[in-house]
């Protein structure tokens, strides 16, 4: 693809004008910004990880408490049922 001859000088001026907008330490600035943003992304990732761990721990705790309470409730209901069943058997045995 050839440069259109009529514009070549103007294009050079355009590039020079654009290049003049960049500071002399442009590369350093870009790399600094990149590192800073990478770190902030890591911070967000770390926070997300901590939040996810906390949420998981809470969920496990809730499940354990629920399982424990359900088991305890079942035990009580079973004991009651056994008692009722024993009483029913004893009534049935009365002539």
């Amino acid at each position: 693809m050839n440069t259109t001859p009529d514009f070549s000088e103007a294009w050079r001026s355009l590039r020079a004008r654009a290049a003049a907008q960049l500071p002399s330490d442009f590369a350093d600035r870009v790399l600094r910004t990149l590192r800073r943003q990478t770190f902030s992304v890591r911070d967000v990732a770390d926070r997300f990880f901590v939040a996810a761990c906390t949420a998981t721990a809470c969920l496990v705790f809730v499940v354990l408490v629920h399982t424990h309470n359900t088991h305890k409730g079942n035990q009580v209901a079973l004991a009651d049922w056994r008692q009722i069943s024993a009483q029913a058997d004893s009534f049935a045995a009365v002539p």
Partner: protein, 181 residues
């Protein structure tokens, strides 16, 4: 770019992919002027050149690890630059929609009164601004020496469509430029 240059560039890209600071710095140094010129040709505003060029390089480093073929680095970089410029123009369009007319007018004055611009540069900048952004992209890519096949890949279209659009855009640019200059 000859084969030796192209191999050296691919090696440099690989080093930058490994996170080597000096390679990354050299990569920026090699392309910063071209990226700035590309961004300026598309946006037409010198005050956004530095920010936009920085955005292009930051996006480049974030995505560099996913570039499988370092030999195709340049075409890949220009695709990324093109997308960044189009995104920028889109954002600007929305920003202007919510900006009061007086502020927008002040911004325009600030750009046209920029110092030491030649008549040719003014005419070219004005002519570019009369084109559609996608046509400006094609003209800028052609000026950067991209082939029509690469342009087709960059803009997700066919080579024949690129030929037609580029021809039309050049004619339009030439007419406006010659009228202004």
């Amino acid at each position: 770019m000859d084969i030796t240059d192209s191999t050296a560039l691919a090696d440099l890209v690989r080093e930058a992919q490994r996170g080597r600071d000096d390679a990354q710095r050299e990569l920026i140094g090699r392309y910063q002027q071209r990226m700035a010129g590309f961004a300026y040709a598309i946006t037409g505003r010198s005050d956004s050149v530095e920010d936009l060029t920085q955005i292009i390089f930051i996006k480049m480093f974030r995505a560099l690890g996913r570039l499988d073929d370092p030999e195709r680095f340049e075409a890949w970089l220009f695709r990324l630059a093109r997308n960044s410029c189009i995104d920028h123009l889109r954002r600007e369009k929305w920003r202007r929609f919510f900006t009061p007319i007086e502020t927008e007018h002040e911004e325009t004055i600030a750009e046209t009164n920029a110092p030491v611009d030649s008549a040719e540069l003014d005419a070219l900048r004005h002519a570019l601004q009369q084109l559609k952004p996608k046509d400006r992209v094609l003209i800028a890519l052609a000026q950067e020496g991209r082939s029509q096949t690469e342009m087709a890949a960059i803009t997700h279209t066919t080579v024949s469509a690129i030929k037609a659009r580029l021809h039309r855009a050049r004619e339009q640019l030439r007419n406006i430029y010659e009228h202004d200059a």
